[in-house]
């Protein structure tokens, strides 16, 4: 499926001009980054940020990357890798499950606060976002944060914009913290364990100081990843093997972390949900999901459940987002109520008084 790109500005000023014009005319816009997410149900004319592309500054010594939102994520990954660095939150590439034909972009990554398995150790995308430039729904070109590691100067709008899915503003530049790639990694695999056992393994491992950087359960196997300097790694591996001996761990030099991060195991269709929960609640929620007739996998030590199957999991776990609709109906994002809903609506009006940016995307 290709998206007809009506508008593809090549500069911040043009983005501002277009949005100011649509603001005046109250004409809705659907913001598109790399376009991997085909299911953008927002109404309106497509506004593509793909031409607003390229790295502004990358300073490995200062561990900062400043780049435009249309920059393809694979390009960024390759550039950082060449310097021995990475985005520590391990952004996934969800092309496989979203079946879009684009390439994920840096702006789309921030807009979704996209974070992979290493989130258990390193935090989410928003934790690595140092600053942003953006155009709000009035067409004002604005900035927040900066390019330094610590910054408490005024309200932290960068955090709010991360994960706002283009409903508050169009990001026109993002500043991210980069971190050294750890030179070695190893995986402990626990084949043939239930989700309940996996959770016990995760809890034990994540309560050690051994900096477990991935805790995933897919297809009946639990995986723990550790990364670090060579010497550290051998020590930590042996300590974890001893601690978890009863669960019969196997040491793997490598494991399909990329595929697990990208949820490849649920690539082949069906409604797909992303559920955030308290890790120890995961086994019970997953039992409920099984009863609903679908399959689930665990990431983030149990804090993230992927569910592929029928029904609406929100009765079991309220923080569920419908990532791939397929035959499912109803809102994609969990509905809010009360004061939180009022605050969210208020923020939308503050950033976008005419309601023209991805209208309805997060509440329909």
């Amino acid at each position: 499926m290709t998206v007809a790109l009506d508008l593809a500005p090549a500069s911040e000023a043009e983005v501002a001009e277009i949005i100011a014009d649509r603001h005046a005319r109250r004409a809705p816009l659907r913001i598109v980054g790399g376009g991997t997410r085909v299911e953008n149900r927002a109404r309106g004319e497509a506004l593509s940020l793909s031409r607003l592309s390229g790295v502004v500054t990358y300073s490995p010594g200062e561990m900062t990357l400043i780049a435009r939102p249309g920059t393809p994520l694979p390009e960024i990954k390759a550039m950082l890798e060449a310097e021995g660095q990475a985005l520590a939150f391990e952004p996934p590439d969800l092309r496989g499950i979203l079946s879009g034909n684009g390439t994920p972009s840096l702006g789309g990554m921030v807009a979704a606060n996209a974070s992979g398995p290493r989130r258990v150790l390193a935090g989410a995308c928003r934790d690595h976002l140092l600053g942003v430039r953006f155009v709000d729904g009035r067409g004002r070109l604005l900035k927040n944060g900066g390019r330094v590691m610590k910054n408490v100067t005024g309200l932290d709008l960068s955090k709010l914009l991360a994960g706002s899915h283009g409903t508050l503003a169009a990001l026109t530049e993002v500043v991210l913290k980069t971190l050294p790639l750890l030179p070695a990694r190893t995986t402990l695999a626990f084949p043939g364990v239930t989700q309940a056992t996996a959770l016990r393994i995760f809890t034990a491992a994540l309560s050690t100081p051994f900096e477990v950087s991935g805790a995933v359960h897919v297809g009946g196997t639990a995986y723990l990843r550790i990364e670090g300097l060579e010497r550290q790694l051998a020590y930590r591996r042996d300590r974890l093997l001893a601690l978890l001996a009863e669960h019969r761990p196997e040491v793997l030099d490598d494991a399909p972390w990329g595929a697990m991060r990208d949820v490849a195991h649920f690539a082949d269709g069906g409604p797909l949900w992303r559920i955030l929960c308290k890790p120890t609640d995961a086994p019970e929620i997953c039992a409920g999901l099984r009863a609903m007739g679908g399959d689930s996998s665990l990431d983030w030590g149990g804090g993230l459940i992927w569910y592929r199957g029928p029904g609406n999991p929100r009765a079991l776990a309220p923080h569920a987002t419908l990532i791939r609709r397929d035959t499912a109906t109803g809102p994609a994002f969990p509905p809010q109520s009360g004061a939180v809903a009022r605050l969210q609506d208020g923020l939308r009006r503050a950033f976008d008084p005419a309601g023209i940016l991805n209208p309805g995307l997060m509440d329909a």
Partner: protein, 480 residues
């Protein structure tokens, strides 16, 4: 005194007794203070050059009582200044004569410790240090560790998004905050975030953290906790120039070793520390303390790498600690730096942050500005993340000295912004840097922030004269 506060609203002052009576009707007797002898204890925070007793002080013991205070104040149109322990260095908890102080230090309960899900839930009046003390027997800790941790509260930490020496590795408060219970100006109580990993909707917790009491009053918090490392050890490295020390910091960071802390002390600071604490530091222009964590073999490995990086830069000295006593000796001078400086006279402590690569230039420029302003400055700071702490020494009893120190400070902060940094890395804007916000942000960048405040606090009751320059906020404040 160069920072102006708005004149108190005479209509509110005139209704003082009525306001106090309404608060008394809503709260237990000992939770409302209006005796001028007692309200004086709340007239300032750690920015002591600015003082003003409030109209009244309220010290609720529960979220419901906080909500009661908010409702009374909203009904009567009285500004509210939230307060934790009052250790803010930015005047964040500074009262105005027409405000009610809402102190949350009596909300002191630890509500839940869940090591399986790695969080602790507390009322926000608990001190930072007591949180880690609760966790210690369980083998866990709470990472953000401001130097004021003995006194400062989790409420203040959340409001200021506070950091500490260990945030190079573990991040600041916002990276370790999972959820909060917040009382809005309407008196409504809302839960933001929680034990699950991140919101599926807009990240309201993300803007709450660091909002300096502008959006709501935080009464409970869910904090991420971490397993304690097996051990930690510092090394001390002396250099004969600040530039080379700065280079060493950048090289360590690039190398893949991730120390928990890289602290920097310059010559004036080292002199003061030697005189005060006799820490036995080398006599040289710049000292770094680098701390690494792990098991003994891991620590050795990391220190070997750090030594290789340092050796390439010809250090004056590379001192390793071989045991706990030697580790303490290395930290001793750094930990007593603020006390040592205090003995030299009055000081103001800034915390502008710069890109790590700009440290050498910034330090040199600060030296030049020091000569220009005729005031001494000492630098002791978190170098790994470029978070400077220039301490400007002055004499509060010499007329005009404070104003000169403030002018010098403003020049330093403008310099930080010019080299790509920011006005404040962890202390907050408060009143201290309020009037410099225009140096970092364009009017519209501030406008959107104020519009966010409008959403949470349409009548601008919470901390109304802070963070935003008064002329910029005038129209918003007039809404009241």
């Amino acid at each position: 005194m160069t920072i102006a506060m708005p004149a108190p609203d005479p209509r509110i002052l005139a209704r003082g007794p009525q306001i106090v009576a309404a608060l008394r009707a809503a709260l237990p007797a000992d939770a409302v203070i209006d005796d001028p002898q007692e309200t004086r204890a709340y007239e300032c925070d750690a920015l002591t050059a600015y003082r003003c007793p409030p109209l009244a002080v309220t010290l609720p013991r529960s979220t419901a009582e906080v909500a009661a205070v908010m409702r009374v104040c909203a009904d009567l149109g009285v500004p509210v200044v939230p307060r934790g322990a009052g250790t803010s260095l930015a005047g964040g908890a500074l009262p105005t004569a027409d405000c009610v102080i809402l102190g949350t230090m009596r909300l002191r309960e630890v509500l839940e410790i869940d090591t399986a899900n790695r969080f602790i839930r507390v009322q926000t009046g608990v001190t930072n240090l007591s949180v880690s003390a609760e966790l210690e027997p369980l083998g866990f800790f709470y990472a953000p560790d401001p130097s004021s941790q003995l006194a400062c509260t989790i409420a203040g930490n959340i409001a200021m998004n506070s950091g500490g020496a260990h945030c190079l590795k573990y991040g600041v408060t916002t990276n370790n905050l999972m959820g909060a219970t917040v009382v809005l100006t309407t008196g409504e109580i809302v839960e933001l975030g929680g034990p699950e990993m991140g919101p599926a909707g807009l990240d309201l917790l993300g803007i709450l953290c660091g909002s300096e009491g502008q959006l709501g009053v935080v009464t409970e918090a869910t904090l991420r906790i971490l397993p304690r490392p097996e051990g930690a050890r510092p090394v001390l490295i002396g250099f004969d120039s600040p530039e080379v020390a700065g280079e060493c910091v950048a090289n360590i960071i690039r190398s893949g070793v991730l120390p928990v802390a890289i602290e920097y002390m310059d010559e004036p600071c080292l002199r003061a520390v030697e005189a005060f604490a006799k820490a036995g530091y080398p006599d040289c222009p710049a000292v770094l303390i680098v701390e690494v964590e792990g098991a003994p073999a891991e620590i050795d490995d990391q220190i070997t790498r750090i030594r290789a990086i340092a050796d390439a830069l010809n250090p004056v000295e590379f001192r390793e600690s071989r045991n706990a006593d030697e580790a303490l000796a290395i930290w001793k001078g750094r930990k007593s730096a603020f006390g040592a400086m205090g003995r030299l006279g009055d000081y103001i402590c800034l915390d502008g942050t710069v890109p790590v690569g700009q440290l050498p230039y910034t330090l040199r420029r600060i030296g030049e500005l020091s000569r220009q302003h005729g005031l001494e400055v000492a630098n002791v700071f978190h170098a790994g993340d470029g978070n400077m702490h220039p301490l400007i020494l002055f004499d509060a009893n010499t007329p005009g000295d404070l104003a000169r120190a403030e002018a010098f400070g403003a020049d330093i902060l403008r310099l930080c912004v010019q080299v790509g940094g920011c006005l404040t890395g962890e202390h907050g804007v408060g009143v201290e840097k309020r009037d410099l916000m225009g140096d970092q942000y364009a009017p519209e960048d501030l406008a959107i922030q104020m519009q966010v405040k409008d959403v949470f606090d349409p009548d601008w009751l919470l901390n109304p004269a802070k963070v935003f320059p008064l002329d910029a906020s005038a129209a918003h404040r007039a809404a009241r």
